[in-house]
Amino acid sequence: MIPLLKVDSLKVSIRTDDGTARVLDDVGLTLERGRILGVVGESGCGKSTLIRAIMGILPKGASVDAGHVWFEGENLLVFSEAELNGRIRSSRIGFIPQDPLLALNPVFKVGTQLLEAMRWHAPDDGTRGRERRRRHVERLVGLLRRMQVPDPETALERYPHQFSGGQRQRLLIAASLACAPTLVIADEPTTALDVTTQHQILLLLRELVGEFGLSLLFVTHDFGVVAELCDDLCVIYAGQTVEAGPVQAVLQAPAHPYTRALLACHPDRAASFVGIPGRVPSPLARPAGCQFAARCGEAEPRCREASPPQARARSGADVRCVQYA
């Protein structure tokens, strides 16, 4: 069976005043139906660009140079803006944006905004006009109740600033599910929340995936969140996938030196505050060979000569490192 979402050697560059920056350089990931895939990486490694490339909302000046985004067997990259709006966004791919404080338009009631999306993108159930809208309200109220938003009936009549951060994130999750998509893409949805709220939201997401038959692409920089929520894991470094595999396998036996270094930095595992020496290479001037070689404790001369091949580690994860070639 074909995977729900498969990103294939995707390359994206952004034109800047200082030259062309290759932000994504050969990213690949596979999301099977009904699973939760966590995409992990440092700030600036290209996580957000990856999401935007999948959804076709890359910022101005960015272009896809190579690769494919296969969604249910179709290459999304060849779709026009109108086709994406008409057939993909909301209706088949839901989107949970990063910051719930800023993701809603402050001048409209929550209900107005959520129902607007449903009016255009919800599946056709044969009803029209007022009846269709009534059904949408019904579905939304049901979703909000499921999301544990207090007073779901009156919530639609309130403005975004009348909700707390956690409640707003629940609203946005409900919104992403409103048109019954098969894939939901979440861009660090819990970063702006405090830890207890974050935990509740993660539990809720986990339940929803089973309940609505969803698949979830979850972007984060937090391994703790990945361990709690995800089935599969994909580690990105400097715009490249360096390790991908089932969460248990990767966390127990991290194969790539970068994954090991990242995990060693996690406060739960490290005895004291540690980091990875050096800096992420600038996307404007990528070094030859392995992108991580300059910061890698295990680097060999051949690492700096040619790009390391994709290989399979003993844990079952796909790794981009010469050690496993």
């Binding site: 909302i57 966004r89 909301s90 209706s91 839901g94 990063q98 910051d99 800023l102 999306a117």
Partner: protein, 280 residues
């Protein structure tokens, strides 16, 4: 709406401005019924020309014996008509241009903004005079000239707001849920950018009345015998040493109306944008 009024009511100058604006509005609507001599819009009574203010004619009479009070009241409608038309037309031109220039980037956006800069660089009155001179002198050409010189103010404001808003996350989210660009720009960004536009429009109403009076004074606006404030001042020049009331009362009408709109606009701005609040 209610909180705006409540906050406005604590601002004395703004309330004064609101009062003036309401009075001018009422005069514009009910002028012909309020004015003691509504027929003086066009009639002339040469027997009672240039009479000083008295019980019968509180503001005196002009060179054709017409009641100046009536003509000041009747002039409110014309002044407001000009101001509203000019500001609305300028908004209809300027706001969409600002939205497009702010949301898009590239040559179209650059072209719009450079043209805006060029028009803004020339003083509005000078440009309006030049335009009005090119067209035949009439009220319509004065309004056209003023509209064509006032739109860049709206383009600038809307451009800046749109630039800021189009980088905001809710616009990203809207694109993500599949909203088309026109929908994002007109239904989501525009309402967010509207408050500074309303403030600018309020101040613009006063300013336009002033500039329209100047055009009338210079003979490029309203044509006699229309009861226009600027025209009345122009006519009064010949009689100035003898008939002080002839120029004074239409002049006061302009002064008070323009000040009313400006005070109201300042008050609205203080509410909409507290960063610009003056210390008083």
């Amino acid at each position: 709406m209610k909180p705006i009024l409540a906050r406005l009511s604590r601002d004395l100058p703004a309330m004064l401005g609101l009062g003036v604006v309401v009075v001018v509005l009422l005069l514009a609507i009910f002028g012909p019924w309020i004015a003691p001599h509504p027929e003086d819009a066009s009639a002339s009574h040469l027997l009672r020309r240039l009479k000083p203010p008295s019980a019968d004619f509180p503001f005196g009479t002009d060179n054709l014996g017409r009641d100046i009070l009536s003509r000041v009241i009747l002039g409110a409608r014309g002044a407001l008509q000009i101001a509203l038309t000019v500001v609305v037309v300028a908004m209809l031109i300027g706001v969409p241009l600002g939205l497009v220039a702010g949301y898009r980037s590239g040559w179209l956006s650059e072209t719009i903004m450079r043209v805006t800069d060029v028009v803004l660089a020339i003083p509005q009155l000078v440009l309006a005079l030049a335009l009005a001179q090119l067209l035949t002198p009439s009220l319509e050409s004065a309004m056209l000239a003023l509209s064509l010189t006032y739109w860049p103010f709206f383009t600038r404001i809307v451009y800046a707001e749109t630039r800021r808003l189009s980088a905001s996350l809710f616009v990203d989210a809207l694109r993500g849920v599949g909203a088309a660009s026109p929908r994002i720009v007109f239904l989501h960004i525009l309402p967010n950018a509207l408050s500074p536009v309303i403030v600018r429009a309020t101040i613009g109403l006063g300013f336009t009345i002033l500039v329209a009076a100047v055009l009338g004074f210079l003979g490029m606006g309203a044509t006699p015998p229309a009861p226009d404030w600027g025209l009345a001042i122009a006519d009064s020049r010949t009689y100035l040493p003898r008939a002080w009331w002839y120029a004074t009362f239409p002049g006061l009408a302009i002064l008070i109306t323009v000040m009313g709109f400006n005070l109201l606009g300042d008050g609205l701005r203080d509410i909409v944008d507290p960063r610009l609040r003056r210390s008083r």
